[in-house]
């Protein structure tokens, strides 16, 4: 195999492979599964497992003080907040669920009493957007990472090809270059003037003198 063939085969083998679709899918799958699992893990505590005080505290964190500046019931010392907390405790003791208690306050103070919006209607945007942004960001990071890896691999292969191509072209000695040049000049002069090579004539003249 000639040096040119070697270079060609090396070039062909260094053509960048498309990023593994499986690797990308696995990354997406990992994000898609881990986010809901994380969500479930933090939110799957059954309200029946909590004491009255724990449930009251949990609810007072989920409800806003209606007359305060952005404070939940547990943060506020307003008299109305304290009264609402007492109502929460009474309703828990009466056996009402967290959802029923939240609905009770929403009916009286509107949806603004909820610290986090209800996951329905237009409010769904507030719940979905962070997930979309998180997944989108993760995809962007994965994509950037794959691009970086591909570019680095291409650069490495490009350097290898350059080195091998350089080594395939063996350098000529200066004398050989001159001989080749002179032979080429002879051929061109002969073509232009006739079949007699000026160099051949010169050689002949030198021979006569000798």
């Amino acid at each position: 195999m000639s040096a040119t063939d070697d270079s060609l085969s090396m070039l062909m083998s260094s053509t960048p492979r498309p990023p593994s679709i499986w690797r990308t899918l696995v990354s997406i799958g990992f994000v898609a599964i881990s986010v809901p699992l994380l969500w479930l893990a933090t939110g799957c505590v059954n309200e029946d497992d909590l004491t009255t005080d724990q449930r009251a505290y949990q609810l007072s964190q989920q409800l806003m003080c209606p007359v305060c500046d952005g404070q939940t019931l547990d943060q506020s010392q307003a008299q109305l907040s304290l009264d609402m907390q007492a109502v929460i405790e009474r309703k828990i003791e009466e056996g009402e669920s967290n959802a029923e208690i939240r609905d009770y306050f929403v009916a009286r103070y509107g949806e603004v009493v909820l610290a986090s919006p209800d996951a329905g209607g237009f409010n769904i945007i507030a719940w979905v957007m962070p997930v979309i942004i998180f997944v989108g960001g993760a995809l962007l990071v994965v994509n950037a990472f794959l691009n970086m890896r591909r570019n680095r691999r291409d650069d490495a292969r490009g350097n290898e090809v350059e080195e091998s191509t350089d080594s395939a072209l063996e350098p000529m000695r200066p004398g050989e270059v001159m001989d080749e040049y002179l032979e080429r000049a002879d051929r061109e002069i002969a073509a232009a003037v006739g079949n007699v090579s000026p160099r051949a004539e010169t050689d002949a003249d030198n021979g006569d003198r000798n």
């Binding site: 008299q79 009264d83 109502v87 942004i133 995809l139 691009n147």
Partner: protein, 192 residues
């Protein structure tokens, strides 16, 4: 589409929507409004409780009072406090209005919230208030009615349904207007 533009759009467009929604939400937010005990919305507002909520209290003279016992009459329930300046300025108006409207079968009930019984008794005596008053010591009645501040008034029709709610102090004229409309509705003259 260039390979770098696509992921940027994928993240950029939802991010842009999120920021726009966030800005709209901040502009329309109630955060920063409202102080404890002070109504930031004055005038007539939506009724903030179950329309057939019953009320059960013990008045200052020790008698039990139930809203359902007053069925058949128009009832005005006033949430107030002795330390509240608008309540003080409104008290003489309510005292005079009760004298006039009680003759027409309209009942007034005062519920003092975030207050002490002694202050409430002094206040009632000072202003010559004749209609029954009670102290909501635990604040449970105020929460049941969705009270945010004082004064707040709830108007109950003869069927026992809470039909109107007014935040802030009333003038004699505005109170007469509401009660006249309700009376007209009750006897079938006007709509409500």
């Amino acid at each position: 589409m260039p390979s770098r533009t696509k992921p940027l759009l994928l993240v950029g467009i939802p991010l842009l929507i999120f920021v726009v929604v966030l800005i709209i939400g901040m502009l329309q937010s109630d955060v920063g409004r409202g102080r404890p005990g002070v109504n930031d919305t004055l005038g007539e507002v939506a009724v903030s409780t179950d329309r057939f909520t019953d009320l059960q209290v013990t008045t200052l003279d020790g008698r039990p009072l139930r809203l359902s016992d007053l069925r058949g009459s128009i009832v005005m329930i006033d949430f107030w406090s002795s330390w509240c300046p608008p309540c003080r300025s409104e008290a003489p108006i309510l005292a005079v209005a009760y004298e006039r409207w009680s003759e027409l079968g309209v009942e007034f009930v005062g519920i003092s919230i975030w207050d002490t019984e002694s202050d409430v008794r002094d206040f009632v005596e000072l202003h010559g208030i004749e209609y029954p008053n009670a102290v909501d010591e635990s604040g449970q009645i105020a929460v049941e009615f969705g009270v945010r501040g004082i004064p707040e008034k709830f108007f109950v029709n003869p069927e026992g349904e809470i039909v109107r709610k007014i935040n802030g102090p009333n003038t004699s004229q505005s109170l007469d207007e509401v009660l006249t409309q309700m009376s007209d509705t009750a006897i079938g003259i006007g709509g409500n």
